[in-house]
């Protein structure tokens, strides 16, 4: 019986998500004009749902202090209080309000992951485009370095680097961004390699355009579509990597509210049949699923593929 009830609720949740995605897509089509509206109309419902979830996360992250009932680090009651009206999701291992920490966690976890991805992209894309445009020894050196860095498993490498440099948020961002930029470098380089052989690049070179202008004005605009889709995928990987490190206790450090470390701190509850530790983990999973749905749609559009 229990299994049937669970299955029923899962079906209800999926149907609700689909309906929300459909409504959101309809609203987005009504509110936008021209090319954007046309693109949105053909979007699958899953992409609509993904965009809705991402928007909600961004809103929660931006307005966290207004939404959260209590402050991020405020001890409001006894430890591990059950769910009730004053503390919707109860309290955590130190007696802090779980809902408030979840809301602030959106700001910290997503913010850090976003900053890391942006940094990884800036480094990886610039070096990748540079390697493809200049070619020769620069390309050789950068590519071999990236080959070596990619031969070390990412999680192990970040654990090693974090041991050495210690665990703080700036170090965490730098370490993960460096490791991840190698993957961006590979993609940016291979995309740009196909562009630099084009005639208009030759023409731009003959016109006397400098290296920087060549990269930003001629190559980057044409390499943007795959890079943007890759940004979404990379964000997922970075987000999962940072959560995993925080979960292992070497990422974002307490008392900062962070979903990965929240799971770790309250994990003991799960053996008593309390789902609270699953909430932050579920928040991570929901966002990555949402981003994946949107990226899937964008890749589909960019490649012009039909199933």
């Amino acid at each position: 019986m229990n299994v049937l009830i669970t299955l029923f609720w899962i079906a209800v949740a999926i149907a609700g998500a689909m309906a929300a995605g459909w409504l959101f897509r309809a609203a987005a089509v009504a509110l936008t004009r021209g090319g954007t509206a046309r693109a949105l109309r053909t979007a699958p419902v899953t992409a609509g749902f993904g965009m809705l979830v991402i928007l909600l996360y961004v809103l929660v992250a931006l307005f966290a202090p207004l939404i959260a009932p209590y402050a991020e680090r405020e001890v409001v009651g006894a430890q591990f209080l059950p769910w009730d009206s004053t503390h919707v999701f109860g309290t955590d291992n130190l007696g802090r309000d779980t809902l408030s920490r979840l809301i602030y966690g959106a700001r910290n976890t997503v913010g850090i992951a976003f900053a890391t991805t942006a940094l990884a992209f800036a480094m990886g894309a610039i070096l990748g485009l540079l390697a493809a445009t200049v070619g020769g020894w620069l390309d050789q050196i950068l590519s071999r370095i990236v080959d070596i860095l990619m031969a070390i498993p990412a999680l192990i490498f970040s654990l090693l680097l974090l041991t050495i440099f210690g665990t703080s948020v700036p170090t965490l961002i730098l370490v993960i961004a460096t490791i991840d930029s190698t993957r961006v470098f590979r993609l940016a380089r291979s995309v740009a390699l196909n562009i630099v052989v084009m005639d208009y690049i030759e023409a731009a070179k003959l016109r006397g355009e400098g290296l920087w202008r060549l990269i930003t004005r001629e190559i980057l605009p044409n390499a943007l579509a795959p890079l943007v889709a890759e940004f979404g995928l990379r964000f997922c990987f970075v987000f999962l990597a940072i959560s995993a490190l925080s979960f292992l206790g070497v990422g974002v450090q307490p008392p900062t509210a962070d979903w990965g470390s929240m799971v770790r701190e309250n994990a003991a509850l799960i053996t008593f049949g309390d789902v609270t530790p699953l909430l932050p983990a579920g928040a991570i999973a929901l966002l990555t699923v949402a981003v994946n749905f949107v990226v899937d749609w964008m890749l589909h559009r960019a490649s012009g593929l039909k199933e």
């Binding site: 080959d147 070596i148 031969a151 070390i152 498993p153 990412a154 999680l155 192990i156 490498f157 654990l159 090693l160 680097l161 974090l162 041991t163 050495i164 440099f165 210690g166 997922c236 999962l240 959560s243 995993a244 979960f247 292992l248 206790g249 070497v250 990965g260 799971v263 994990a267 799960i270 053996t271 049949g273 789902v275 530790p277 699953l278 983990a281 579920g282 991570i284 999973a285 990555t288 699923v289 981003v291 994946n292 749905f293 899937d296 199933e307």
Partner: protein
């Protein structure tokens, strides 16, 4: 035959070279530390005498390349030095844990590889049906779940009811069947995490081939769809499948870190995480080197196997 052997020898040489550079990197990373390693570990309050004694103990008074050569020679012979935290030889710490980690990874592989190949073939056979779509949607979501989420859901569902233990404590005295039972949940977690990727690749590799003329020929001869896929499409789809299987095995080797921590399983990953928290450099270096070696080795095997499975790649030019 000789072409194959030279290819394998070349790949092996390249793998060894990569491993060598990685070892330099792993060792050299500690040299990047701003300031003095000994002072860093001992803290502000250390007297110059203790720092000097500690430096001598670690061999920090020797030049870097001498220390690197000593470390590498020791590592090749299985001697990784002593742990900073408890002064025990690292080789002793690692020995049983390495076996445990390998056991868990193999256990997960033994479940996930047949399962994902089967699901992939079935999804390709019944493509665009409800089965295929559900399998695909489930696969996409399970790829995007963090490992600890999957692990805790499994604990919540399966360990709550007392079916399986939520902690996988094993020691050398535990019997084989008992070990299999206790490590079932971590193995299942890893299986769920890697199966999705392998299944999607298997499906994609087979479907890619279904448009080729020889498949149409086979179909026109009146073969059953199952036979077409198993006897005609699958052998040609092997190269990408082997690659993705090996990549996922490599992933299993590192993915165990999180899962081991969740299930308190005495493996290498847990040792590494503990040592990172204690900033126990020698242990972290040793474990990182072992993980990296396994990773490089598996990627190398994937490369060789996928080349062997495709005659066109052996006889290039």
């Amino acid at each position: 035959m000789s072409a194959i052997w030279t290819m394998i020898a070349k790949r092996l040489g390249l793998g060894l070279l990569t491993l060598f550079v990685i070892s330099v990197l792993i060792f050299g990373a500690t040299e990047l530390l701003p300031g003095d390693l000994a002072k860093n570990i001992l803290g502000q309050s250390a007297t110059p005498e203790t720092v000097a004694a500690f430096r001598r103990e670690l061999g920090l008074d020797l030049p870097a390349h001498t220390r690197y050569l000593n470390w590498l020679l020791g590592a090749v012979q299985g001697d990784f030095g002593t742990s900073l935290a408890n002064k025990r030889p690292i080789a002793d710490l690692i020995a049983t844990r390495l076996g445990n980690t390998l056991f868990l990874a193999l256990y997960a592989a033994a479940i996930s590889i047949p399962l994902s190949l089967m699901l992939g073939v079935l999804a390709a056979l019944y493509r665009n049906t409800i089965f295929d779509r559900t399998a695909n949607a489930l696969a996409l979501s399970s790829i995007s779940f963090p490992e600890f989420f999957v692990a805790y859901i499994l604990i919540f569902i399966l360990a709550q009811s007392g079916l399986f233990p939520s902690m996988s404590r094993v020691d050398p005295d535990t019997g084989f069947a008992e070990t299999l039972y206790r490590t079932f949940l971590p193995a299942l977690t890893l299986t769920l995490v890697v199966t999705a990727h392998m299944m999607r690749m298997t499906r994609a590799a087979i479907i890619n081939l279904l448009a080729s003329p020889y498949i149409e020929m086979a179909r026109l001869k009146g073969m059953t769809p199952m036979r077409v896929i198993l006897h005609h499409a699958l052998p040609n789809a092997l190269a990408p499948i082997i690659t993705v299987v090996a990549l996922n095995l490599a992933y299993l080797i590192t993915g165990v870190v999180v899962v081991e921590v969740v299930f308190v399983y005495p493996g290498l990953g847990q040792l590494m995480v503990d040592s990172v928290a204690k900033r126990d450099f020698p242990v972290v270096q040793a474990v990182a080197l072992i993980f990296a070696a396994a990773y490089v080795l598996l990627n190398l095997t994937a490369d060789v196997l996928s080349t062997l499975s495709n005659p066109r790649l052996i006889h290039r030019k």
